[in-house]
Subunit: 218 residues, 4 copies
């Protein structure tokens, strides 16, 4: 009944921690069982096999992620602001869940098996959310309409993934949140200088002399 769900969570939590310490192949079921405080066999009453256990992690986590993301975006109207919030929450989430981050970013995200598995559904859900924001921005007229939405999403997610991935590979030493504003800025405005705009910045601080030229934006 309720106990069963609890036991499942107990195993899943152990799996997140242990899988997060090394990779799928180097992680043993016995280690996870020990961590969860159950017998090895017990794991197989809740999960079909090792891979099922592994892929069950994002099944749970992406649900939480997407739900929280929706909450954070609620009330924000300007799509550019939504993108900033999106980026912020993305970084924040992985900083808060480093074990999960390692599994997701360094293994599942690049796994064909994962992409083909049912657990990928949650990731697709999240990717739709990203796309929706960009689309909304186009409708609002604040996001470029001359470019493919999917490509724009590549930029957004690619930049975020890259930042998180490098952070993980380097041992999670720095505070990844520090780059949040500049990164949002970059995504929104690109790397090149363009005359006369202040793009979608919201912090109010001048980005540079360029903006002084420009007319002032909302």
């Amino acid at each position: 009944m309720n106990k069963k769900a609890t036991r499942r969570q107990q195993i899943l939590q152990a799996a997140i921690e242990i899988f997060g310490r090394s990779n799928f192949d180097d992680t043993s079921i016995s280690e996870i069982a020990r961590r969860a405080g159950v017998a090895e066999g017990t794991i197989y009453q809740y999960f079909k096999n090792k891979q099922d256990l592994f892929f069950s992690i994002p099944r749970e986590k992406t649900k939480t992620f997407s739900a929280q993301l929706d909450l954070y975006l609620k009330g924000v109207t300007d799509a550019r602001e939504k993108i900033r919030k999106f980026a912020w929450y993305y970084l924040h989430f992985f900083r808060t869940n480093p074990d999960y981050a390692r599994s997701l970013m360094l293994e599942m995200r690049v796994s064909k098996a994962f992409a083909r598995s049912g657990s990928y559904k949650g990731v697709k859900r999240f990717m739709s959310q990203a796309l929706a924001i960009l689309k909304e921005g186009q409708e609002q007229g604040v996001i470029r309409q001359d470019l493919d939405l999917y490509l724009s999403r590549h930029l957004l997610l690619g930049a975020l993934e890259h930042v998180v991935t490098r952070w993980l590979l380097k041992g999670e030493k720095e505070d990844i949140m520090l780059c949040h504003e500049q990164l949002s800025d970059l995504i929104l405005n690109g790397v090149a200088i363009h005359s006369g705009n202040g793009s979608a910045r919201t912090t109010g601080k001048p980005i540079g002399k360029n903006r002084e030229n420009g007319p002032g934006r909302s």
Copy 2:
């Protein structure tokens, strides 16, 4: 002596192909030996162990990559053009080397062991090249100086990696080169609309009517 180099290449080439078909753990030395037409033991006369063989792949490949990249950039002066060329060559290279691409993008790029290994040197070399271009752009005044160079590089490489990774995961069906121009454009100009700029586009075609409207768009 020359024969030795040949034999080594023979094994390396087999390794690229076999490692490229599945991942490190699911690839066996015997398979590679069979492919290379040598005995298993022979591999251990040219490479310390399986991981050494695996990591030796980028050691060779990144050298070629960087050298070629230099050639392609030679003669181009505008840093924005260099970035376009960089993006073009990046996509072009991985399309031309799909076996290697799979190993590099889906495994090594996210491997701590690789990041700590000596073979990572080649990747660093390449990353310096990216940074150098951005720096040059700043000096030329065509790349934003208000933002961290490293962060800009995250944007550039993240977008490219993301595109290539998705392409690989989806089975390399589409022609990845098609997105080259729009992607460069996005990297240079971001996703948001900004008034009155001439950005870094070089194709001459208008990106969209938005720009024609001029400044006042909110």
Copy 3:
């Protein structure tokens, strides 16, 4: 009380079906429990363990078999006719109980553990019946007295077992009853040609006259 017997039968019936589908080791208690519509633990309230359950099958079945056999033999006087009836019923029984037949003929019959178990009692009972018929035949003077009774039984049972075993191994496709008359004939008269008898009987023609001809056998 009556319910208890019912529940037991319910499990036993499930066991016959499931054990009959594959062998002892490849059959799981959970499968049987599922088939019987009870929990796994329930099985252990009616049977000591898996082997006890398995061996309980012949305990029930041989009882029925022997009782039915007695009925079929009742009224038949000529031992040779009894042997024919015996063969007929033997084949008939296994054709009617293929699940049980597979377990008994392909597993229990060749199992030392079964031979040592208490459940073997039923089989012995049946073997006595076979011996009794042969003995009766000797007393009647219709069965050879120069040969060991046990060896004669080997011939009788061996031929029958062999026919049934081959039939089971080949997927129970043919109608095993078709060979009944010829097989009885063979058992009674052997494979070699011998002068002046009516060995090749196939129907209800009297067999008695042969004996009248020549009692004098070595």
Copy 4:
């Protein structure tokens, strides 16, 4: 080269002994390896898996069996004598190879998997030999022509298998060869008394005269 064949035999011999002590499932590879004096992994260089090793046993043994059988039958002309020799050799062979006998008679002979495997070929070869003898007997006019050859073979093999099987199940205590003559006799002449023949031969007395007495049987 030759060493490889030797090593294979070494493992096979150990397998015969260990498999012969208990059944397939209760026998472990490690036990066989220990007995053979090799590492567990070595076994898998010569045999695909446990079942392959198991089924390889009859692959070798049936070859020897059939070859030897041919030798023993050479020179014997009367088909009935051949049957006697067949029975004698059958019993002799299994008495000489009790370990193998246990595996073959108590496991493989009743295994569907074995019947479907390639190793069954040897058994079929042997069964053809039996059939050939019976056919030859029919052509000689010494074996009944009114009955199905295959059924006659059932009688022959069934009786022999049954004798051997019971002997194995009872611990191989008696001398199985003792029953050889009577058994052959039974197979040739059946259990029933028939007039005017000398069915119950037990020694070297000519069997030919019987036929003289009564020529044509149906």
